[in-house]
Symmetry: D2
Subunit: 365 residues, 4 copies
């Protein structure tokens, strides 16, 4: 088991896709942070189904904050937030319980939990669990924003459609928000939408890539060796369903580079040390270097597709074909954009709090 | 701080590049496992400098097992192992202490530790710390091998030279061991060696990619949501210096695929459930599905190169050029091959132990 | 922060005394355990106010199980349970917010949380938070009962009234349940009730001691050095408000004994190894030895009393007298009996699950 | 397994009584702390055998600091320290391997570790493991002393001999150090020594009680609910072999008190808030209140005694008498005095570092 993440700032999710609710408990938020329901609802609405290119499941996803606030400020205690499940229909799942959907958790969950797992809508393996991550991440984002830290994710690839050029950091957020699918390039966004429609109409789905940038972090965040910034963030990111890859800065592209090309040379700018390129993605030795963190996350195509697929019936151990019904997103990466932000925020809030508090002890170097 | 990793099987590393030693404490190894010094030494020798295409630092790296064994078997207590540092020369570092090497941890460590970090050879940020990981991983590998689990890493890319075709699982280990740089394709291995020589002769370095496959894992390992197999392994892998990306199964390639191409359909083979492709890399919903785990790790080029680079003097906050001397590997990915194996083994040993022991409680599904 | 306890079986509490609710998330319960609302409600009712010798706050405390069960069985996911707060009156607290009650957390919480703590009814420092512990513990108790483990707490001291003689293990549960205050000796129970009435009528309160016995544990539970059974249980027990001492087996009495008196000699009984006395309280080297665990917990008197007491006004830093109003238990130890059981159960469930799963590796001793 | 303790300041011990060494790895010490070998050695010498009223095992216990320091200051990395075992004689243990000593871990370790445990001298269950705790604690003590925190333990009971009166905080350390057995009352110290000699001459042993006071802590340390100061300290203390009880402030004595007697009323003294009594032992709601922490720890008598005792032979499952040979302390509590200090220091260093660093976020109460 492990439904919680974080050491000093910790989030624990609960709920199932077709159960009563989805929720989260956030521990470790410093006291005095002003939080409104709107702060949470705004983020939840970004990942809600029913938007363009998403599942047609109708969920209002209205957050209830049940603890942790006194007079709209964090009181030092755990913040419990939850939303109800309203629009569930388990009939298809009941009929197909013994036939695992290809590339889904149905089969592995059945074995691991001895058949007692909640098969309806994938139980807690459903993408719906990410609503909990988004609620928790909203607290982290608010906390970090008070420290001048901004976290912006955007869609850079859907199937074969890729973003072109580099959007400057300062324009990224505004541009991404103009797009219903968080693609910061208007033209590419339109192409992606077409691609999504096409896949959907063919009962198929698409993979995609989300990029996330973090601006405004101080130098010195990260706890090497084993809680490097990359370690902690990747741990969180791979908890998002359907993620199959992550890279920081130059990432896999660095495998084919030479040191003389890849190294980020130092310079002084405005009285502080910067690097002239950012192949390191803002992280050196697992510690932030003051440059933007840049990371990219690969999502596999939604495994639930309307096409016929080969599977097996676990109860008879015989072959059985399956055609997944229900309302599924044609591309997980689209709705995952706010989820990536939430998870990066959560991981960084934890690392920020863990920076040595009683600090340097004495003397001079 | 975080020099330990793992929950029930835990490894804690210690030591600095130019300090007295490098070592590790391994906790949680089940009692009764037969361990010989050779089991550890064999793995250490694989990552030792002085082999082809590696640093010329001369270290014997003879392991001493200081606790945890009684009559050559694990006794349930922590296993402490260490090697001495012998061939250190700190003079270059002493002279350049205030001039951080580009793309190294020198600068971030200086800020984070208030200048008290060990600057000599990078202190605990040195690749030498991976000797501790290898010693700890050797215990994990031995433990897993007793459960029928095999972990094989090999070099698939150095600069622009890439492995071609797919080596079958059954041949991989033997073929990789034939190559001095763990590249399982003889021809490609020779090309990589040339590329490495060339970069070295030009005072430059190269990035590379290591692939790792895990064979023989049972279904059901992994602790979702937050301790998915991918989360736990990526956490460990990003603790290896110079790693900038990781992907599982189809990885980033899945971003441009459709669900109908990417999904791994189920079939029955020899009485057990298998998948007909392995784009999932052996993991569904964060849980092993009985197929091989396949992952790839991207390493940036060694940042220490003999070419002149721009940096700054931290004490004067003025520009300063730097030319790194010392004995450095032309490509970190080469010596990282056994390190990747060690870290994957350590993470999986922990997850194997965490599989619910008291298991299914009662009744039938 | 730390609102969660446990490594593989973990419980995270949330809520405030005068907030909307009190609740708990339980992670790590093995799948397939049958749980009814009644299992939880029965335990909650035992600690509910309004019983003899308790606060007159009227709370129905009806549990809602919001996640983690499918068809009344644990499904491997987190179990979220909550109760609403209904009968709250914060007016006294609002008026006295700046005057900390002696021996309460008011003052330390004010400083630690910068004044943002929830002052109404003590916020999450209230004894009401133990309702979360009891709900979580009910799951642990059910799980342990399926393994043949029984956990029975009873009241052995209230003020100067002490239980006499030793109740045999087999009779303890039945006898304790006959008493409205869980004192297994009928006569003593009556004396305690008198003592409680007297203190209450004098606007005063009383301390008390709870004993807990655990029957049916196998040999080998406990994770030394640092997660000894005593370490883990005491960690949990000291999280219950008002606890100031704990002892196992002979406890403080052993300080004045000789080894020859205190040692528990071994014998064979019914084919298994037992000890002829139980000064060790069922634990040797931090590991269960198959004998009953016996522990005693000291509770300080309820600090909220109706008598005038000296305090200070934090906002003016001047002396100020205080007379606590509101509905308070005359002796915390009484309602703490089911809480002690819950916490011991939670800690032991965690340790039971952590017993090495892949066990002894090979060979013979 | 669990050979490590602490979250942000963590100590991991290793070694066996008759193995090659005993050692510790300390993680999380802030960088820049000046540490000399003498700081560690001084503490080690206090617990060394060979002093009055202790085992006659001859160990020099010379500490080697193997990592974590650069120019005698902490460098932010893990500090590994170790001592060698020199004067071991395993012959008695080899002969009696199958006959567990009463009230020792021999039996439970045999079962838990499947017979693979190190039986010689108790393996890692030996009191010798506390040398690791003392080395680790020495770092914590040094760190805390730089923050003005002082930790003083002293012997208050040996068998039936009890300390009388209350030694003022200011005199405690000096007085305790005058006594070879750390009893701060000269007269009582002499009586205790007599008692110890008598027990020893009769091949018997004695229990004892150690009190520990912590002076100079700020208000606000401790992480409720579950990492209250009492929870964290008791967790550590019960990891010391032979501890069977712990109490804070008024402790078990509070069970027989009324609230009006037990409550610590607030007052203002020198501009800061104090309490007029200290039945809370410096802790309210699990958080330090600025008054001295006071705790008492009960040690059972050394179980290894020279008298004949009844046991069983595990291999034959038949009764067998045993008479423990070897060199054992007549009273564990004596040498445990510096161990209690070390463990309290370690736990408090962790809690001090965990105090919310980014603290109060904004605004006013």
């Amino acid at each position: 088991m492990s439904f919680g993440i974080g050491s000093e700032f910790r989030m624990t999710v609960f709920g199932e896709s077709h159960g009563r609710c989805i929720g989260v408990v956030v521990e470790g938020c410093p006291p005095g942070l002003e939080i409104g329901v709107d702060d949470i609802q705004w983020e939840l609405d970004r990942r809600k189904p029913g938007r363009e290119a998403t599942s047609s499941r109708k969920e209002r996803d209205l957050v209830r904050i049940e603890s942790g606030l006194t007079n709209n400020r964090t009181n030092g205690g755990p913040i419990m937030m939850m939303i109800s499940n309203e629009d569930t229909d388990s009939s298809w799942y009941d009929r197909n319980r013994m036939v695992p959907r290809p590339s889904h958790a149905d089969y592995t969950a059945f074995v691991k939990y001895g058949g007692f797992n909640d098969w309806r809508g994938g139980g807690f393996f459903s993408g719906r669990i990410t609503a909990g991550m988004v609620m928790g991440g909203a607290i982290a984002k608010k906390l970090l924003s008070r420290r001048g830290v901004k976290i912006i994710a955007h869609l850079v690839q859907v199937g074969d459609v890729r973003a072109k050029g580099e959007i400057p950091d300062a324009e990224l957020e505004a541009k991404a928000r103009e797009s219903p699918i968080w693609c910061a390039d208007k033209e590419v966004s339109a192409l992606m939408s077409e691609e999504l429609e096409k896949a959907k109409s063919e009962n198929d789905s698409l993979g995609g890539t989300v990029e996330c940038r973090v601006l405004g972090l101080p130098v010195g965040v990260g706890e090497p060796i084993f809680d490097s910034v990359e370690s902690v963030i990747s741990h969180g990111i791979f908890s998002i369903p359907a993620v199959k890859g992550i890279e920081f800065g130059g990432g896999f592209g660095l495998s084919s580079k030479r040191g003389s090309e890849a190294n980020d040379e130092f310079a002084i700018e405005g009285g502080r040390i910067v690097t002239q390129s950012n192949n390191s993605g803002g992280i050196l030795g697992g510690i932030t270097n003051g440059m933007p963190i840049v990371l990219r996350v690969a999502f596999k195509p939604t495994p639930s597709i309307g096409k016929k697929q080969r599977s097996v019936d676990i109860s008879t151990m015989k072959k059985k074909e399956i055609r997944v019904e229900g309302r599924h997103d044609p591309c997980i990466a689209v709705r995952a954009v706010p989820v990536v932000e939430a998870m990066v925020a959560t991981c960084l809030a934890d690392l920020m709090i863990r920076v040595h508090k009683i600090g340097r002890v004495e003397g001079k170097i």
